[in-house]
Amino acid sequence: MKSTTTLRRKLLSSAFVGFCGFAVLIALIPLAFVLFFVITQGIRAVNVDFFTHMPTPVGEPGGGMANAIVGTLIVSGLAALMAVPIGVISGMYMSEYAGTRFASLVRFAADTLNGVPSIVIGVFAYAVAVLPFKQFSALAGGFALGVMMIPIIARTTEELLLLVPGSMREGALALGATRARAVFGVVLPAALPGIVTGIVLALARIAGETAPLLFTSFNNRFFTTKLTQPISTLTVQVFTYATGPYDDWHRQAWAGALVLVMIVLVCSLLARLATRRLERMHARG
């Protein structure tokens, strides 16, 4: 009797272990499928023209997404311009004054903002940065992405600053440095490589956003670098092409997706290498 229960318990345990391994496989299958299709379909359409040429009129094969690539760079750049200072400094506040009530409030706001659906941020940016000017613009797109980027950078900065050994800060303060000196001169430089990595990752994530751009930076068939004009971006262009009826558009959409995935892949790999180096440095130090 006893041995059968033991057997049953052991079997149940093995079945559970098997299920957990199976769950990992189940999750990796879509990842492999998505990457496989994006790479095989995308590579057929990606060529030099894709990066240097403008979209051709419907029916004419070839062409590229030069305007959309430049547009994505501009809009993400604007977002970073807005989000990096606000994010890094509010992150600094959260780590320096951790434990105060206001720091908890800022942290709560950052987490809340991080959870706001990107499409809602788009509606907000439309009301704030499009409606008053009666004009879709690259600036409005940058604003929308910037709002999304702030909480990511703030929380990363906070976490990395908290990792810097307290003794470093205390050392600086003991030598008579003001808190600002201690933070900007000692603590921030120690955490800087990590923070830069965090910013790069945030940029990669932001560059892949579509929803906040649909009604802020909108789309533009022509090449423009004017910040007050609607501007084309890779993601919105992929959306237009993917939902359109033409085969040639679909090919272009896959190519755009490949570029987007490559941006994400390269950034995450770089970030991983960087963090590994940092960890090793910390372990040694």
Binding site: V24, L31, F37, S90, E96, G115, P117, F124, V238
Partner: protein, 312 residues
Amino acid sequence: MRRKELGFQMGTGVLGLVLVAIVFAIGAVLAKQSMLSIEKFGLSFWRTEVWDPVSGEFGALPFIWGTLYSSILALLISTPIALGIAVFISELCPARLRQPLVFLTELLAAIPSIVYGLWGIFVLVPAVRALEISLPDALRQLPFFSGPPLGLGMLSAALILAIMVIPFSSSVAREVLKSVPAAQREAAYALGATRFEAIRAALFFARTGIIGAIMLGFGRALGETMAVTMVIGNNPRVSLSLFAPQYTMAAVLANEFTEAADDLYLAALTEIGLVLFIITLIVNSLSRLLIWSMSRTATQVPEPVEPAVDAA
């Protein structure tokens, strides 16, 4: 000296305040922009099924239904898988596999929504259509499988949402499991528990945090836009059928916002955005509360006393 300290605190604090202000501004601006619709329709906005912008009739029931239905379906699929992954990575897998697996699941979260959508349209939807066609006729009588097998519809949306939510839930669940004291597991093994029994005890210990992790995934699913818009079929109707093309709150915003010609239409869409904002706010806050209370109980287990450090 003292003044400089204050200057630093105020200077950095002001930018912290910006963060808080943005959250309030989102709520306030959306509320103001949707006033027209709130005043005109009141609560009937959320009870009416007809969405006909041309004749000025706006009922948002199909959207809230589609959002909740797709997200709940996605959770049903993703929860066991996400927990399985969390357990496998934190408890079962060889240390050498751990980092690569974490990296791969994080990659699943890093792929842009639009790429999932593209893949959804050209790969997932045809596969789902084939699956729907092959379903035996007897099952087709059930309300869950009624309607023509289009591929585009609730089932595709739920599947793609599940894929996108898994990495979020599983990484939080992993963190939560990590906070279960080792003594807990050791005690279970010492009593002769099998692996499953020990892990079940750990999961039970961490239940509040696990529920928090699942809710966090729910919050993500509610607001997910592009991929869902591209595969759900965009048809405003309330249906239990997994085959039926339906609509979500986020998808209607993505599709119709730039087409909203008159003020009432725009206000109605903005109200949908406002409610989506409020729902995700509540879900996310609750989930963080659960995760936080879990990590607090975990640290209440007696540990070596550390000297108290003044936080300020």
